[in-house]
C-alpha cells in the first residue's frame, strides 16, 4: 500500500475519541476498512479531508488534549509535496486558521493551505458554487486568482470524478470512466468493479454487492469474536406466564412495555449479582464493571447495530421502555453517534419477533456474554404435580467467553434469571 483515500471521518475536530473506537474509514487498493483509534483524547486537527488521497506515513490527524498548542506539528503543506517559493502568509496555528477566514459578507477562505486567494477569486467561487479548498488541493501556484477559479470550473465540468484507486483500476482494465454509472459523488473502486461485471455478465448470474463499512465491521468483529475467545453457550427454557401477566396488567394501566424491556430490567439486575458475566476482557485482566450498559441488538436492512442503554441497572421499567425505545428508533433512523455504541457491558439479542424459537448469538467483544432471546411458544409442559399444562415458554441462550465465565457461573446466572422471570416482583 502506497496511499489511501479517506472515505469518512467518524469523529469531528474538537470531539473526544477513545482508543478502540472507529476513527475513520479508508480505501486502499486492496480493501476498504474502518480504522479504530489507537488513542484516547481530543481530536485536535484532521489533516486530511474526505476524498483526499494520502501517501502512507503521512500524518492525517492530531489527537491530544483540548487546547494544546500543535502549531509545531502542523506540516507546511500536508497533502501536496510542492514547496511554496513566494513569501505568502501561511496559516500558523490551528486556532488562527479556523478563526481568520471568516469575514462579514465573505464566505470564502482568504488563505488556504498557504495559498493566497484574491478577492475576485473568492467572489467568483462563491457565485459558481466552487469550493476554494477543492482548487487549493491540486493548485501548484501560490496565489489563486479568478482565472484559476474559472479554469477549475471548466475542468470540473468536464472531468469525471473518480478516486485514485478507481482511476487506476479503470486504466488497467481499459474502462472509460465516463461509462461508469454513478449517481452523484465520485466513482469508487466498487463502481468500477460493478461496471466490469456488468460488462461480462449475460444477464442472469451473479450480483456483486460491494462491502459497505457496516458490513465490513460486522464481518470483522464476528470473526474476531469467534476466533479470539473460548466461546460456548448454555440454554434454558422458562415459563414466562408471569411476564405475560405483568405486561398485560401494565397495559391495562396505560403503560406500554415490551418483553425486551422487562428482560432488560431483569437481566440488568441479575448481572449486578454476577459481575463476571458483566465483565470485559482486557490485556491487563478481566475488567469488572460496576454498572450495566445494556447493548440492545437492532437489525437494520444494512446490518446489525447494537446501541447501548447506559446504566440500565439504575433505570426503572418505564425509563427502560422510554430510553430503550428511543435508542432503537434512532438506530433505525441512523441518527446514532459513535458514543451510542460504546462502552456496552452486556448485549441482549431478541429474535422472538421473527418466530425463532432459539438461537446462539455471538458474543460482542470485549464483552463477556450475550443473551439470545427466542419467541414465546405455548407448549405443553409438566407442572409440579405432574399434569400436562400448556404454558407460554421462552428459550434463553447465553453465549459466553469461557475465559471469563465458567459453565457453572453461566448456569447459575440463567437459573437466577429464570427465578426472576417466574417471579418478577423479586427484582425489588
Amino acid at each position: 500500500m502506497t496511499e489511501g483515500t479517506i472515505l469518512k471521518w467518524f469523529v469531528a475536530e474538537g470531539a473526544q475519541i477513545r482508543e478502540g473506537e472507529p476513527f475513520f474509514e479508508v480505501e486502499t487498493d486492496k480493501l476498504t476498512l474502518v480504522v479504530d483509534s489507537h488513542h484516547t483524547g481530543t481530536v485536535l486537527k484532521l489533516l486530511a479531508g474526505v476524498g483526499d488521497a494520502v501517501p502512507v506515513m503521512n500524518p492525517i490527524a492530531i489527537i491530544g488534549n483540548a487546547g494544546e498548542d500543535i502549531s509545531g506539528l502542523l506540516p507546511q503543506s500536508p497533502i501536496l509535496p510542492e514547496k511554496i517559493t513566494e513569501s505568502v502568509p501561511v496559516v500558523e496555528s490551528v486556532t488562527a486558521s479556523s478563526r481568520e477566514t471568516r469575514f462579514a459578507g465573505d464566505s470564502g477562505e482568504r488563505i488556504l493551505n498557504g495559498k493566497f486567494v484574491t478577492p475576485r477569486a473568492r467572489k467568483i467561487a462563491r457565485e459558481t458554487n466552487i469550493s476554494i479548498a477543492d482548487i487549493a488541493k491540486s493548485f501548484t501556484g501560490s496565489k489563486i486568482s479568478s482565472r484559476d477559479v474559472l479554469a477549475f470550473a471548466e475542468t470540473e465540468k468536464n472531468r469525471v470524478k473518480a478516486s485514485p484507486v478507481a482511476q487506476r483500476m479503470a486504466d488497467e482494465k481499459g474502462i472509460d470512466l465516463a461509462s461508469v454509472k454513478k449517481d452523484g459523488g465520485r466513482i469508487m473502486k466498487a463502481d468500477v468493479s460493478a461496471a466490469l461485471l456488468r460488462g461480462t455478465s449475460s444477464g442472469r448470474g451473479e450480483k456483486l454487492v460491494p462491502f459497505t463499512g457496516m458490513r465490513k465491521v460486522i464481518a470483522s468483529r464476528m470473526l474476531e469474536s469467534q476466533s479470539e475467545m473460548a466461546q460456548t453457550h448454555n440454554r434454558i427454557r422458562v415459563d414466562v406466564s408471569e411476564l405475560v401477566a405483568l405486561r398485560e396488567k401494565l397495559a391495562e394501566g396505560g403503560i406500554k412495555v415490551s418483553y425486551n424491556d422487562i428482560l432488560v430490567r431483569l437481566v440488568s439486575r441479575v448481572l449486578r449479582e454476577f459481575p463476571y458475566v458483566n465483565a470485559s476482557w482486557t490485556v491487563e485482566g478481566i475488567l469488572l464493571h460496576e454498572y450495566v450498559n445494556m447493548g440492545i441488538a437492532v437489525g437494520l436492512d444494512e446490518g446489525l447495530v447494537v446501541p447501548v442503554l447506559r446504566d440500565a441497572d439504575t433505570l426503572t421499567l418505564a425509563e427502560i421502555a422510554l430510553q430503550g425505545g428511543a435508542l432503537v428508533q434512532a438506530a433505525r433512523e441512523g441518527s446514532l453517534s459513535p458514543d451510542d455504541f460504546s462502552e456496552g457491558t452486556f448485549t441482549l439479542s431478541n429474535l422472538g419477533m421473527f418466530d425463532t424459537e432459539e438461537f446462539v448469538a455471538i458474543v460482542n467483544p470485549p464483552q463477556a456474554a450475550i443473551l439470545a432471546v427466542g419467541s414465546i411458544i405455548r407448549q405443553p409442559v409438566a407442572d409440579d404435580a405432574g399434569d400436562v399444562v400448556v404454558k407460554p415458554m421462552m428459550t434463553l441462550t447465553l453465549s459466553y467467553d469461557h475465559r471469563i465465565v465458567d459453565g457453572a457461573v453461566a448456569a447459575k446466572f440463567l437459573q437466577r434469571l429464570k427465578q426472576l422471570i417466574r417471579n418478577p416482583l423479586l427484582v425489588y
Binding site: T118, P119, R120, A121, R122, K123, S145, S146, R147
Partner: protein, 325 residues
C-alpha cells in the same frame, strides 16, 4: 477633420470661441505679437485687437487675480500661464480666491475662467519648468482639472472648459505641443468635462492614464498584445470631475488595474484612483492596484536623470506584469 498640431488646435478653438462669444478674452505673457511662447494664441491679436488680447507684465498673481474679478463681472477670461508651474506665483488667487468665490458667496457668483498652460517634462527644462502639479489643484474643492492628451482632446476639452461656468485648470503638456492629430472642423465640437475615454479595449488589465502616459500605455499594450495579453487603456481626460464609473466598470471587467501619471507617485492622484478602486471594487480585484509616477525628486536637468525621474514605457510595462503575476 483636419490634421493639426496640438498648439494649433488650441489656437483655433480660442479664435472660434472668441468669435462666438464677445465675453471671451485672453490674457497672459507674450500672447499678443508673440502669439504665445508655444504659439497657442497665434493670430488672436490680429483678429481681436488688444482689448481682448491682453499681453500682461510678468505678474501672475496679479493677472490671475484680475481674471477672477473679470469672470465674476461676466467675462470669460482664458488666462495663459507660460509654464503651468508659474501658477505657483498665483497660488493665493487660485486656492484662496478663485476656488472659493462661488462657495463663499453662497452660490450667487460664478467664475467662468480657464487657466491654461503647459506642464510636464522630457524637454530638459529642469525642476521649475517641468512639474506636473495637477494633484494640488484636484485637492482644493472648487477647481475643475482637465488634461488633454491629443490635438483631438485638447480641442474638444478646451471648448468645454471655456464654456463651463466653473474655473478650470487646463493642464496641457509641452511634449505634446508639436504632436499632430486629427481634429474635427466643427466649431461646436466639444468633449464634455468628466468623461474618460477608453482608448483601447482589453480584458486582462486596465491602465488608467493621462497625458504622456496614455501614449506610453498604448505602446505597451501594443507590445503585450503579441504575447496574448489584452490591455485596456483609459485616458481620464478630466481629473475633476473624475469619471469614476468608466474606471470602475473597466476594473470590474479585468480585475487588475494600473494607474500611470507623470505626477510624483507619492501622493499623486494615482493614490486617489487606487483608493477608489479599493473601496468600490475590492471584490473584483485579482491583484492590488499598481501606480506608476515620477520619482520623489525635483525634475533634473541631465537627460539620463530626467528620463529616470519621469515614468517610462518600461515602468508601465513592469507595473502591468506585476499585477498580472
Amino acid at each position: 477633420m483636419t490634421v493639426k498640431t496640438y498648439y494649433n488646435a488650441i489656437a483655433t478653438v480660442l479664435a472660434e470661441e472668441m468669435r462666438r462669444d464677445p465675453a471671451v478674452f485672453v490674457m497672459g505673457e507674450d500672447i499678443a505679437e508673440g502669439g504665445g511662447t508655444f504659439s497657442c494664441t497665434k493670430g488672436l491679436l490680429e483678429e481681436f485687437g488688444r482689448n481682448r488680447v491682453r499681453n500682461t507684465p510678468i505678474s501672475e498673481c496679479g493677472f490671475v487675480g484680475m481674471s477672477l474679478g473679470a469672470a465674476i463681472c461676466g467675462l470669460r477670461p482664458v488666462v495663459e500661464l507660460m509654464f503651468l508651474d508659474f501658477a505657483c506665483n498665483a497660488m493665493d488667487q487660485i486656492i484662496n480666491q478663485i476656488s472659493k468665490a462661488r462657495y463663499m458667496s453662497g452660490g450667487t457668483v460664478k467664475v467662468p475662467l480657464v487657466l491654461r498652460g503647459p506642464q510636464g517634462g522630457w524637454r530638459g527644462k529642469a525642476a521649475q519648468h517641468s512639474q506636473s502639479l495637477e494633484t494640488l489643484y484636484m485637492h482644493v474643492p472648487g477647481l475643475k482639472v482637465v488634461c488633454p492628451s491629443s490635438p483631438y482632446n485638447v480641442a474638444g476639452l478646451l471648448r468645454a472648459s471655456i464654456r463651463s461656468d466653473d474655473p478650470v485648470i487646463f493642464c496641457e503638456h509641452k511634449n505634446l505641443i508639436p504632436v499632430k492629430g486629427e481634429v474635427p472642423d466643427d466649431p461646436e465640437f466639444l468633449i464634455p468635462l468628466g468623461k474618460a475615454d477608453v482608448v483601447r479595449q482589453g480584458k486582462d488589465v486596465t491602465v488608467i492614464a493621462s497625458l504622456m502616459c496614455v501614449h506610453f500605455a498604448l505602446e505597451v499594450a501594443e507590445k503585450m498584445a503579441k504575447e496574448g495579453i489584452s490591455v485596456e487603456v483609459i485616458d481620464v481626460r478630466t481629473l475633476v470631475p473624475l469619471d469614476k464609473a468608466t474606471v470602475l466598470e473597466s476594473v470590474r471587467k479585468t480585475g487588475r488595474a494600473v494607474v500611470a501619471h507623470e505626477a510624483v507617485k507619492f501622493c499623486g492622484w494615482g493614490s486617489e484612483i487606487s483608493s477608489i478602486i479599493m473601496e468600490e471594487a475590492f471584490e473584483y480585484l485579482d491583484a492590488p492596484v499598481a501606480r506608476v509616477g515620477a520619482k520623489y525628486c525635483p525634475i533634473p536637468y541631465a537627460k539620463e536623470l530626467e528620463d529616470e525621474a519621469l515614468p517610462s514605457v518600461a515602468d508601465i510595462e513592469q507595473a502591468i506584469r506585476r499585477v498580472l503575476s
